[in-house]
Amino acid sequence: MFRILRRCARTGLATLPLEPARDADYELAGEKLRESIRRLRGGRSLYVREVDAGSCNGCEIEISALTSPVYDAERFGVHVTASPRHADVLLVTGPVTRQMELALKMTYEAAPEPKIVVACGDCALDGGAFAGSYAVAGAVEDVLPVDIRIKGCPPKPSAILGALLAAVERAGKA
């Protein structure tokens, strides 16, 4: 018990200030996204449901870093949730494989409005390294309406979180 306290004190605060995402790293959709965030009461509380629609798992490594003490997405009100019914944001990675297409659609339908779809990573944007393959149904936007696009293979955690926060900030300004 006290070993824990001691280690905690030695480590100190591990959370680092978030480096801002570069504009080139992400793309925000227009009015619909702003409207969704407004209906989500400004986006100060975002429940994120991650869906791997066929990624190589590289994006998952970076997304799992978001809940680590270093990036600490919770300090921005971004919380990774267990159920699509609780979700405000669907964070989708990977090209949508033929065999994940249905599961992805069902997850989307299970989530209540207002909801935001984020296509995370080069594969999610256009199929990436797997584009055109017989086993791939398409990019995320071929299956679902996409609000936020994040580039990278994989995108850094700061880019993923930064893109989300940029959307929130932009909705607050408009």
């Binding site: 869906v51 590289g58 994006c59 680590s68 003490p69 599961a103 086993a135 791939v136």
Partner: protein
């Protein structure tokens, strides 16, 4: 690699005698569509023979017009999954195989369409067939009910389906159904220039980018008959160990967090983040991508970067030692992991299990010691071995490997050779080559055949998870449902590596 031809009917017996007589382990089984050459198919069974420190291949020919072969699955259980895959991708029927169901392609895939046959185009749009259901094993009895889980899981994790049959909380049977992340990679490689495909190899299984790219590059080098210079070998070994480090750190963090000991998990995640940042500082990419190429490396390490890395690793190791003590001293965590998910050694051996999951059950095998490449023979790897086969053993094996990796990285730094970091490879093929690497999960094997123009005719990718996923249902037998996530996490398998 030694390759012996057998008549098709004698192949199963030959495979069995490899396993029994020479103590070999089936590493991969693959088929080749050679109908354009001579009308038939070729079958290869690749065995790891530690006693000979080499791989041995047994091959057989399926003559023109035939589409079946005698199955070796009954004699060599490790061949079970490989032969199912051969059936669905090539349309070659393994006669005598107990399981006629598809492994990767789901129910809506038309039966007569076989993606790895040459006439099937890599970007073909195939219709979906309706109305079929995957026949899961049904367990009947009083109070037995089914729990389907997935493919979308509650955490940040890859998709897969688990079908439990439970009587209350104890698991009576578990079936794992994967294939959701099948991207058609082996087909995607075909037709590409062998010398330019390392980047695609990095995306087979993202957290094993280096292991797969390394195995691929080694296969190309084997084919071309070229050996990378010592500096390249040393740098490659550093990258492989760095990848092992961050993966094991993440796995231990996951095990701790899954038992509810969030503090331990958070500490390990902080360590993992440090390691990923060191990766970035060294190579420009957190997952070390974009550096390996056939022949060596695309560029040298920046001046001073290795020294910076060494200093950072020293501090990371000191941190790790403290966290390790903390985790091992957390009684409530240790109580959860002791005795859960016990995997019997014989099951691991029979099914060809590899990596930490097998070593935790007493299977003594590690490619860095058994099939060393380049500098590996000089580094004196000792595989971390345990006998209990429970979650605790798998966690401890990873912890020992972390310590071992730190040691190896120091040794590599100390004897870093100077000189070129790559050897030019001007042409590749025709021919066959094999490359391998011990990833954080176990044996990665790439079997490559290239044509005279240097393009890939066939690449067989064996990810350690392909051999290890069949172990999970065995480990879960008799345990209760709430322990399953912890057991699954202790195996730490890749869905993307399995499905390709």
């Amino acid at each position: 690699m030694d390759s012996k031809e057998f008549p098709l009917d004698a192949l199963p017996a030959a495979c069995a005698s490899m396993v029994r007589g020479e103590g070999a382990r089936l590493a991969a089984a693959l088929a080749l569509d050679e109908r354009r050459r001579d009308g038939g198919f070729s079958l290869r069974y690749v065995f790891s023979v530690p006693a000979k420190r080499s791989y041995v291949e047994l091959r057989g020919r399926i003559p023109a017009g035939a589409a079946a072969f005698p199955s070796s699955a009954a004699l060599v259980p490790a061949a079970h999954a490989f032969e199912r895959e051969i059936r669905e991708f090539f349309g070659l029927d393994p006669q005598g195989h107990p399981d006629p169901r598809n492994l990767l392609l789901h129910e809506d895939w038309p039966e007569a369409v076989h993606p790895l046959r040459k006439e099937f185009s890599w970007n073909a749009k195939t219709r979906r067939e309706a109305g079929r259901e995957f026949p899961f094993l049904k367990v009947t009895g009083e109070g037995v009910f089914e729990i389907p889980v997935g493919p979308v899981h509650a955490g940040v994790i890859e998709p897969g389906h688990f079908r439990f049959s439970v009587a209350g909380e104890p698991v009576v049977n578990l079936e794992v159904r994967l294939g959701y992340v099948h991207r058609g990679l082996e087909k995607l490689f075909e037709g590409r220039l062998a010398l330019a495909a390392a980047a695609l190899a990095e995306r087979i299984s993202g957290d094993n980018s280096i292991a797969h790219a390394l195995a691929y590059c080694r296969a190309v080098e084997d084919l071309a008959g070229r050996t990378p210079p010592p500096r390249a070998q040393a740098l490659r070994a550093i990258l492989l160990e760095l990848e092992r480090l961050y993966n094991h750190a993440g796995d231990v963090a996951g095990i701790a967090a899954d038992t509810g000991f969030v503090f331990g998990g958070a500490q390990m995640l902080i360590l993992r983040e440090r390691l990923l940042r060191e990766n970035e500082r060294l190579s420009g990419r957190r997952l070390l991508r974009g550096w390996l190429e056939p022949g060596g490396l695309a560029r040298d390490a920046a001046p001073g970067s290795l020294e910076t890395l060494a200093a950072a690793l020293e501090s990371c190791e000191a941190d790790y030692r403290e966290i390790e003590k903390l985790i091992l001293g957390a009684d409530s965590l240790m109580d959860r992991v002791v005795g859960a998910g016990v995997l019997d050694r014989r099951v691991a051996v029979d099914l060809g299990g590899v990596g930490p999951a097998a070593r935790a059950s007493g299977v003594d095998g590690d490619l860095r010691r058994d099939h060393p490449v380049g500098l590996e023979a000089e580094l004196g790897f000792q595989p971390a071995l345990r006998r209990e086969g429970d979650v605790r053993a798998r966690m401890l094996v990873r912890m020992e490997e972390i310590a071992e990796s730190f040691r190896v990285l120091r040794a590599l730094q100390a004897r870093m050779p100077d000189g070129p970091w790559t050897v030019p490879i001007n042409g590749v093929g025709p021919g066959e080559g094999v490359g391998w690497a011990e990833s954080s999960r176990g044996e990665v094997l790439h079997w490559l055949r290239a044509g005279p123009d240097g393009t890939i005719e066939r690449l067989k990718i064996k990810d350690p998870s392909f051999s290890n996923w069949p172990l999970v249902p065995w480990a879960v037998q008799g345990d209760i449902v709430p322990d399953f996530p912890l057991i699954n996490k202790s195996f730490g398998l890749s869905y993307a590596g399995h499905d390709r």
